[in-house]
Amino acid sequence: MLVGNGIEDEEKWLAEGIAGIQHHAFYMHRALDANNLRETLKYSAQMLSELRTSKLSPHKYYELYMRAFDELRKLEMFFKEESKHGVSIVDLYELVQHAGNILPRLYLLCTVGSVYIKSKEAPARDVLKDLVEMCRGVQHPIRGLFLRSYLAQVSRDKLPDLGSEYEGDADTVVDAVDFVLQNFTEMNKLWVRMHYQGPGQIREKREKERSELRDLVGKNLHVLGQIEGVDLEMYKGTVLPRVLEQVVNCKDELAQYYLMDCIIQVFPDEYHLQTLETLLGAFPQLQPTVDIKTVLSRLMDRLSNYAASSIEVLPEFLQVEAFAKLSNAIGRVIETQVDMPIVGVIALYVSLLTFTLRVHPERLDYVDQVLGACVKKLSGKPKLEDNRATKQVVALLTAPLEKYNDIVTALTLSNYPRVMDCLDNGTNKAMAMVIIQSIMNNNTCISTADKVEVLFELIKGLIKDLDGTSVDELDEEDFKDEQNSVARLIHMLYNDDPEEMLKIIYTVKKHIMSGGPQRLPFTVPPLIFSALRYVGYGLQLVRRLQCQDGDVVGEEVPATPKQIFQLLNQTIDALSSVSSPELALRLYLQCAEAAGACDLEPIAYEFFTQAFVLYEEEIADSKAQVTAIHLIIGTLQRMNVFGVENRDTLTHKATGYSAKLLKKPDQCRAVYACSHLFWVDDQDGIKDGERVLLCLKRALRIANAAQQMIAVTRGRSGPVTLFVEILNKYLYFFEKGNPQITTDAIGGLVELITTEMQSDSTTVASDAFFSSTVRYIQFQKEKGGALGEKYASIKV
């Protein structure tokens, strides 16, 4: 038979079957109307004979069955009314058994049996027992399943359950349960027997068809779940063991999966909890191909929901040691099912973890245990390649983070980093990012060095190059993102206690130093600033102590900044050696300033020295040099820690470097910036007017030279911007009261600029700048006051 034709043929056969049923049903109805029992039985048997077909797929057979089912309802009504047919129900029960064909016979028997129970002329248990036993005669899987399903259907409301009107004298619930169990067992056997062992394509189709019938079998479990009389005792003693026995013994993948799931779904959570051991004991005995993880996950889901439903049930969980049992069961399942893919294993652990987190959130040791088990399973294997498995591991790692909303908790889990080790580099990084995100989102402060240590262990994928990743592979953007995250993270590592903070800083340094040239520029600055913040804090502390207790200065507290600065020195040194000299220079200056603020002159001096060395040796680019020299000048200007000698050395150097810049305008600007080094507008700042003037004059000379150079090379004079800028400096120092800056000098400069501008009228910008400046002078003159008087003598 070709598969293609099969479908059409089936339609035809179904139509024939339905026509047959209708035909016989017509005569049956006539006989019913005439109250003719003999004819009724004859035609009903003929009608039911249509169900003897073997040609239909389960789906089509179901349609046929439903037609017959409707007719049987009418028949049952007729059987009920003895006055119509005049035969006692007992005799009727025998009479229908005269039918020669078994299938119609048993359908009729079940129908009469249902009436028989209703009549209460015999105990329900006896009738049910007889029916379920007689049904053994149909061994054809589909026909048997439907017959027994019919039996289950008609008997459903007639079980001798507790409180039912069919309840007998003693222990009748047992009979009800026995009946359902037996029917279930037989149905399952039939169902399993449908398992087709032919070629793949047909098998797939058959298995699909078979799967459609599963609810027929599962219905029995439903009924069991609804029997009032099934209390925990009975469930434990009878129902569960027998159902499990059947499930295990049937050795069928489809059935085992479905039925285990059914058990979990139809019986109350409380029962599951109390019979956990038995239930779980069945899992390792299932076929290796059964999707145990899904079933177990559902069980754990249900249990955790149950636990969540009410606090009162939690002691039950503890009492039955639910966690230990589940954990053991999972271990055993994994052990026995050698072929289970790794993704399945991890999925199981994820479920268990979820369960633990929901039921025993306070038991971190449980969580750690789960992770440990997972590590054990994963260790000794190559890193995970499977995408789905990786996803599961990520889920495993994310779950505790989400639950506790607090990385600190996760840091106490000793197996956490070991699980992370199992991830491939990419995922490992992603996971590390998740951890950092979690810290950021919750604004968690990591406050001990130990935790920091663990944390860095976790995110080491971001901190250093792992084996096997070449740098080229990295996406630059991602890399930046990652490193920026790490930088942000460093700020979260903080403790108010200086001693601990110092340890933290040491730990961080240790880790980031291993980061390699690519990472250092990202990670060093936050470390420096974090440390400087600490130094600043220590300083405040010292000051506060001094305020409170006069001269009492903590012995170790001032010692600490020194250590820190030493550390920082080394750190920045590392940075300069990896070709980020500009960054290093900035950091040196930053440190120098901080050291200055701490009154640590030698250290500050050392930092400056380093900065200058860097300037000399590493910074070659002229633009960078300009920037650097301005930075140096700026920083130096603000420092007041240095003694005269040191300061002279440094300012001298700075001025010297300024004059040696490549471009004249740069030189000029650097030099006039240097003038500020000699005039600190502070109460106790130095005010060396002479040297200011020297600088400015030198700047003027350079500006002049620049102007001439332009005139020579381009044949016309250059812009006067530099002169205007110098003029502004003059005005600044003039206002600040430098005696060396005279009104004459200013007037001369203005004149010079005016002359220069006449020979060159092209530059509008400098023109505007100059006229603004002149306007400012005018304004000051007109404003009057002390400053106005000073300005008054300036000739414009």
């Binding site: 020669g100 078994i102 061994q139 026909r143 048997g144």
Partner: protein
């Protein structure tokens, strides 16, 4: 009938009636011509009492050389049709030779008649009981009238009634064990039992239980055996697996059985068998036949 009777102009009407004819149980009996008539039912050792009424046709004189009534038990074998073998023959003289002018009744009585065999209508044999009235005449043929009646004999409950239990099979192919609860069943009995499958390596389509009747007639080289299947009762639909046990419950009442007859007067036997048939998907039949004894239980 009247027309035919009229044509031959029998000189009188003869009728036989039983003393307890109104109360006695009547059973159907199939006659040679295919008609079924109701006849009284007797059992062995009963008294058969009644009267014979002879009514000459009005105004005619009936001369006779004597009137007698016989009770005959006869066996007729169909290969020797028309030749009746009387295993029982009792005679009562009703009248001495003389003349009859008007109707006359003759009472008769056969007391505690030994009728060891039951009436039986088989394929090749018939066993019947009749009352035969003969009015003997000179020169012309005798006037003969028959009345059939049926004899059924009851058997007490057998003291020993073992179950039938047997394991049969085809090596490495099919092994079953079957059990019927008794070896002797009465006519309205139920056969209970089960079939247990020890080994199934063939694809069985269904299984049925047949009731077969084996009638053997004659003896020696002239033995004729006729087997009929009276019942086909499906026990199982579809193929079982190892370890299945299939229940048997067969009510005998719907079937027209007789008791088992063993060697009736050395002329014939009727035996019953249960035949368990398994049919595989290629329609091959595997069967095992077991004799059962059927008896009539007094109700």
């Amino acid at each position: 009938m009247n027309f035919i009777v009229g044509a031959f102009k029998p000189p009188c009407i003869v009728s036989i009636s039983f003393a307890d004819g109104r109360t006695r149980k009547q059973v159907p009996l199939k006659k040679e011509n295919g008609h079924t008539v109701m006849v009284p039912l007797f059992q062995s050792q009963e008294n058969i009492v009644g009267e014979v009424l002879i009514e000459p046709i009005h105004g005619k004189k009936l001369e006779h050389t004597g009137v007698k009534i016989e009770l005959l038990g006869q066996i007729e074998l169909y290969f020797d049709r028309g030749n009746f073998y009387d295993f029982t023959s009792l005679v009562r003289e009703l009248d001495v030779p003389g003349e009859l002018y008007e109707k006359k009744t003759y009472p008769f009585e056969f007391s505690t008649v030994e009728m060891p065999y039951e009436s039986y209508n088989g394929v090749n044999v018939r066993l019947r009981y009749i009352l035969k009235v003969t009015i003997s005449r000179n020169y012309v043929s005798n006037i003969v009238e028959h009345q059939d009646f049926v004899v059924q004999n009851y058997t007490p409950l057998p003291s020993i009634n073992n179950s039938i239990k047997m394991e049969v099979g085809i090596e490495d192919c099919l092994h079953i064990e079957f059990e019927y609860n008794k070896s002797k069943y009465h006519l309205k009995d139920v056969i209970l039992g089960k079939i247990y499958f020890l080994l199934v390596r063939i694809k069985i389509k269904n299984m049925e239980l047949e009731i077969r009747r084996r009638e053997s007639t004659g003896s020696g080289p002239n033995t004729y055996v006729e087997t009929e299947t009276l019942a086909k009762f499906e026990l199982m639909d579809g193929g079982p697996v190892r370890g299945e046990s299939i229940p048997v419950r067969l009510f005998l009442s719907p079937y027209e059985l007789t008791p088992t007859y063993r060697n009736i007067n050395n002329k014939f036997s009727v035996k019953y068998y249960l035949n368990l048939v398994l049919v595989d998907e290629e329609d091959r039949r595997y069967f095992k036949q077991q004799e059962i004894t059927v008896y009539r239980l007094e109700t």
